[in-house]
């Protein structure tokens, strides 16, 4: 397509513009969490590459400069974590119990629902690791026979759901505790859930980073059990 004549930065540039457009739409809609900028941007870029017949692989290769920032951004969660580690140490037992229960619940309900609704085995293996951060999830999906690219999309969708519905869920549960809300965001919403809540509160961000990291470990142990459901 001719606009690729704009040079190697055209896809990173368009990705950046789509993200800004997504944020502008969200602001226009009064900051609604359902108008998620990431979701909007994914829609814009997807529409664009479909309309211009650009294969996804070509877009992804061109957008690497943005994709590669995910690694250092994940490492950056160490800062709220280090800053608040003394809070986490004080409630290590609650963190451990909540994490194991929450992580197992998210995984078992996801796999159970796609099984009951009659989806094929490959969908089950793809959705099993979806609550953990995408690099772990993709590796696990590959290991148990899922589709890593689709797992990534489900990880993002879970992060968006956790970010959008988290505040309402905790209001309904009448829980006013940044530690609980942060941990839950990390366990159920992975990287996006953690990043969203880290912006709202540093303490919550620290608990989210712990939830995300430890749920990655828990899911790594539990995920190999999922193939046993589909005979």
């Amino acid at each position: 397509m001719s606009f690729e004549l704009a040079g190697p930065l055209v896809w990173p540039g368009l990705t950046l513009l789509a993200y800004l457009a997504g944020r502008a739409v969200q602001r226009r809609l009064g900051g609604s969490a359902l108008a998620n900028p990431v979701l909007i941007a994914i829609g814009i870029i997807s529409g664009l590459i479909i309309a211009t017949h650009i294969p996804y692989g070509r877009y992804f290769a061109a957008a690497q400069p943005i994709h590669l920032l995910l690694g250092p951004a994940t490492v950056a969660l160490a800062i709220p974590l280090a800053r608040n580690l003394h809070h986490i140490r004080k409630c290590a037992r609650a963190v451990t119990l909540a994490l194991v229960t929450g992580g197992a619940t998210a995984m078992v309900t996801a796999v159970g629902i796609v099984f009951i609704l009659g989806s094929p085995r490959v969908i089950g293996m793809t959705i099993t690791p979806k609550s953990v951060t995408s690099p772990i999830a993709m590796g696990l999906a590959e290991e148990i026979g899922g589709i890593p690219a689709l797992t990534t999309v489900l990880v993002i969708a879970s992060g968006i759901v956790a970010s959008a519905l988290g505040p309402s869920v905790f209001r309904l549960l009448k829980i006013k505790d940044w530690r609980a809300e942060g941990l839950a965001a990390g366990v159920a919403g992975g990287g996006i859930g953690s990043a969203t809540i880290a912006v709202r509160n540093g303490l919550a961000g620290a608990f989210a980073a712990v939830g995300m990291g430890l749920n990655g470990a828990l899911t790594t142990l539990l995920a190999p059990l999922a193939p046993l459901i589909w005979k």
Binding site: A76, I79, N84, A98, A110, G139, A180
Partner: protein, 140 residues
């Protein structure tokens, strides 16, 4: 937190620390018997260095552990992490057939399991702690 002077030259410093720990994490990940992503290992390593690197790990001092440049770069990256998920997320276009064939199942599973995970984590945490309110936070 005390506002310190911030100059453009600090950006490479903060970024270099994050990139350096990511790379260290990748190396460690290759040496480990189980699969774990380098970025998550890097996060654990940097946390350890930030906490252990301080001679006085008192709660009031912890917020001063991280250099300001690192703080600023980290805040900017965490605040815009969504941007970095877009290239992988567009991968949905390569899976449209599978997604549309299982749309109801996938949508239901993602929404229900995420909410169930939030509820279970939050409820168990406050049950064990014995309080529904707390954790005011001291760093922002």
């Amino acid at each position: 937190m005390a506002q310190q002077s911030w100059s453009v030259t600090d950006i490479p410093f903060g970024l270099a620390i994050l990139v350096g720990f990511e790379m260290m994490g990748e190396v460690v990940s290759h040496l480990m018997p189980v699969k774990a992503p380098g970025a998550v290992i890097g996060m654990v390593l940097l946390t350890a260095v930030l906490v252990l690197g301080d001679a006085r790990p008192k709660s009031q001092d912890l917020e001063r552990l991280a250099p300001t440049a690192l703080d600023r770069v980290a805040d900017a990256m965490i605040g815009n992490m969504g941007l970095m998920f877009i290239p992988a997320g567009v991968g949905i276009v390569a899976q449209l057939g599978l997604v549309s064939a299982n749309l109801v199942s996938l949508t239901t599973a993602v929404i229900v399991s995420t909410v169930a995970g939030l509820v279970a984590t939050g409820a168990v945490f406050v049950r064990v702690m014995g309080s529904r309110a707390g954790g005011e936070g001291d760093d922002q």
